[in-house]
């Protein structure tokens, strides 16, 4: 459990894809920073652990049904936070396609697979921005996208995943310029962190995980809450009031030339 400065005390944040992995860790970190944390998930019953983690760190959890591919659900999630707490200070879009850890056979696959990735990571990135805009404009808040190093270097195994994560970086740069006059900041984090898929790999293929860890100068994969959470909180806090249009690579030094 992390203990962060209360940089987000009383602030209201929506974190999508917060049921597990990086999303859960980032949500818990916002809780530790004092935030009211909207836990956006497709299935509310899957959010109990995240809610407990947010509460345990001193934050206020609010479980929200928010399948980001459903425009009504994402709009309702935002409106509920604003209705109940009077404001929205940050949106952290972390949700990814359920197929994001699968290999993509680029030469033989179809647009259906592309759609799985694009609907969550590209279209929802735009739609959440549009839906949150009036509230972020009012709070002079922040929009944070959880991208990936794969979206910078391109992945042989996951060309679709890396392409849609790249989309978020292009989006961040342009929207930061567009929303700068509104004092809304737009950034992204490219984390290398332990995910549910990697947890599974640790059990099934421990040597492979060791090899991956061996590529990280700091010698380990990032912890979602204590390694990825704090920089995410920072970027949404007033401490980062002059930071916009950036992608912060949080990878233990694994990626140094991005």
């Amino acid at each position: 459990m992390s203990s962060l400065p209360r940089l987000m005390e009383g602030r209201v944040v929506l974190v999508t894809g917060a049921a597990a992995g990086v999303g859960r860790g980032v949500a818990a970190a916002f809780g530790s920073a004092g935030a009211i944390v909207g836990i956006g998930v497709r299935r509310p019953e899957a959010a109990e652990e995240t809610a407990a983690a947010v509460a345990a760190t001193g934050g206020t959890p609010v479980i929200l049904r928010c399948d980001v591919t459903d425009a009504v659900q994402s709009a309702d999630a935002i409106e509920q936070l604003v209705r109940d707490f009077g404001r929205l200070d940050a949106v952290v879009h972390n949700a990814v396609s359920g197929r994001s850890s699968e290999a993509t056979d680029f030469e033989n696959t179809t647009l259906d697979e592309w759609e799985d990735h694009a609907s969550v990571t590209v279209r929802a990135t735009w739609r959440l921005a549009v839906q949150a805009y009036p509230h972020l404009q009012k709070s002079q808040g922040a929009y944070l996208l959880m991208s990936s190093p794969a979206g910078i270097e391109g992945s042989e195994r996951a060309p679709f995943y890396s392409a849609v994560k790249a989309a978020q970086r292009g989006f961040v740069r342009a929207l930061a310029r567009e929303w700068g006059p509104d004092h809304i900041r737009v950034n992204s984090v490219a984390p290398l962190a332990i995910s549910p898929a990697l947890e599974n790999m640790k059990i099934l293929e421990p040597e492979r995980v060791k090899r991956i860890e061996g590529l990280v100068p700091l010698g380990r994969l990032g912890d979602p809450e204590t390694d990825i959470g704090p920089p995410s909180v920072f970027l949404c806090s007033d401490e980062a009031r002059y930071v916009t249009g950036q992608t912060l690579v949080v990878s233990g030094g694994r990626f140094t030339s991005l």
Binding site: W126, I152, G154, S162, A176
Partner: protein
């Protein structure tokens, strides 16, 4: 690779793609072009068309002017409908995927893929969020396939040119919307033909000397955006 090697130019109906195809044809290169009416997101149709054009042979080079300039429109994202977002951002991504996927099927081992994009995503441009999003997506998709196709000695690289040059190619800017796009910065170099520059870079990337260059981004924008 000889200058007369067969080149598939995709996106040749307007803008810089049109100018590149015309220039290559004029100098005697063997050019293959898809029908301008073809829906580039229809993988089956694109594949069929390519097979009928190429027959049992293959192509040595693919030049992909990856975004249709007619889709460009400067507007705040909050003003876009879902359909407008799709047309400006996601349609180019889908068509780039289909073009790369289907071109792979007719590309010779050792072939060269060269994407042409506007240099907007490196810095981002207000009013052009969908375009910047699409460009960055396609640029990294190219890197991913560069990694995948390296085993066949196929190289995949990207050339970025100024937005106006991408949209207009050799044509005169006149009173088009491109003149309304916010300027990113002043070019360091005086005006020159972007098409000439791109043709030179295509020839360089297609030469044996460039066999070890893949996944690279070459920016030919007269020094407007100098990467950090």
């Amino acid at each position: 690779m000889a200058p007369s090697a067969s080149t598939l130019v995709i996106g040749s109906s307007s803008g810089i793609g049109f100018s590149i195809a015309r220039r290559l044809r004029t100098r005697g290169d063997s050019i293959i072009e898809l029908p301008s009416t073809l829906d580039l997101t229809n993988a089956e149709a694109v594949g069929e068309s390519l097979r009928s054009l190429v027959g049992s042979g293959s192509v040595d080079r693919v030049v992909l002017a990856a975004i249709d300039p007619s889709a460009f429109r400067s507007a705040p994202i909050v003003s876009l409908t879902e359909s407008e977002w799709d047309q400006a951002a996601e349609y180019p991504m889908r068509s780039a995927f289909v073009a790369l996927q289907q071109a792979h099927g007719v590309l010779a081992d050792g072939g060269r893929v060269i994407l042409i994009l506007p240099t907007v995503a490196a810095t981002g441009v207000a009013g052009l969020v969908p375009l910047c999003t699409a460009v960055e997506t396609i640029r990294v998709m190219a890197k991913a396939v560069a990694r995948r196709w390296g085993a066949r000695s196929i190289t995949v690289n990207t050339i970025e040119v100024e937005l106006a040059a991408f949209m207009l190619g050799d044509s005169d800017a006149g009173d088009t919307e491109v003149t309304m796009v916010p300027v990113l910065g002043q070019p360091a170099l005086p005006p020159a033909s972007a098409v000439d520059d791109v043709i030179g870079l295509i020839d360089m990337l297609a030469s044996p000397a460039a066999g070890a260059i893949t996944g690279a981004l070459l920016v030919a924008d007269r020094g407007t955006v100098m990467q950090p």
